[in-house]
Symmetry: C2
Subunit: 238 residues, 2 copies
Amino acid sequence: MSQSLFFHPDLSLKNIILPEEESKHLIRVLRKQKGDIIQLMDGKGNLALARIEEDHPKKCLLLITEISLKEKNRNYHFELVIAPTKNMERIEWMLEKCCEIGIDVIHFINCENSERSKLNLERLEKICISAIKQSKQFYLPEIQPLVDFKTFIEKSKSKDSTKLIAWCETNQTETIQSKLSKIENQHLIFMVGPEGDFSNNEINIAKANGFTDVSLGNNILRTETAGLYACVAASQLL
Amino acid sequence: MSQSLFFHPDLSLKNIILPEEESKHLIRVLRKQKGDIIQLMDGKGNLALARIEEDHPKKCLLLITEISLKEKNRNYHFELVIAPTKNMERIEWMLEKCCEIGIDVIHFINCENSERSKLNLERLEKICISAIKQSKQFYLPEIQPLVDFKTFIEKSKSKDSTKLIAWCETNQTETIQSKLSKIENQHLIFMVGPEGDFSNNEINIAKANGFTDVSLGNNILRTETAGLYACVAASQLL
């Protein structure tokens, strides 16, 4: 099934022309032909059956014949807020894993000690699409563009979520599992800082705006490991 | 501190000659000189102070001046049993993360559907050393060479541990967090199969030899994601 599951953001259309890369994959690699049926998903829960009308290897034309809405297969909401790592591969790998395990939104923040201020959002989206296909999910996580730390804090004020922040030099001993076992809503925003850690100023701002600090255990985790750790914690404990 | 923390497997010696790569790093990159003090660990809990006696960039000579034993900073034992992935980078990344989070032994198994039957153990050990240095731990996980599935099962019989196995098409609905919340000893062996999954025969053999199946949630996780997921679960729930 996963071999012929394709992504298109808008399944409200009757006819769809697949982009060049997907057309090539479908016609040249999978060798599908006119009349064959494939599956399409839009990352918003819709799964469609579509028939190949024109098996053009650069702009394959599809006709949607059936569409159904899939339920989300978990009952919690997890948003990760993270500073991109200098070596972007680290974040890409983490994002793939978070998608497999379950994540709703990823926010990227620019901190005082950040070492990267540019992101290739298109590449990140491709990673997410591939990961949700792989793990048989139908909801695509939202990827937010990079914003300054303070901008994010302002924006998060209105959200009625449990907000946690983790950093290396914290004195906090209460673990994330202890915190998560006590929360009442199933809606978590988890923030983790850059490789050079948050500045004291940033920690103070976060704490003054609804974030509580939390321990991820005795070991010092890398940025992307901390993000993944929180994602697994949410999946196991919410 | 981490910049001048070096690894040597035998700190029972008074004098140590660092291998070429580490000597070069210490003398050429960090520009340490005769008389400078560095830290050494052996991955068995020992942390030593050592003075540079000869600042040779290929075979730096050290004298150990002080040694202390660090306690393990967790009270559970986690062994992961996994089939190497075709693309070895996936396992390497997972191993780095498992080391950061906490793992005692990693076993590699060769299954019916395995796509890789060779491992570079030296490279894997380097990844582990680097990860434990990074996360400020003093115990190096044990890396077991690749053995056949059945050989591993035979070997594991004598171990008095909780033994769990995860695979994709399981009907098991009891989650790993539920299982782990009930176990009495803090000693877990967790087994995850190759990308092509375990064969029915392998699952039957495992179950007949003390392994219980467990669910990792609704999503289909990749091999290396499943291993990491179990590692985080052990760290949070044992």
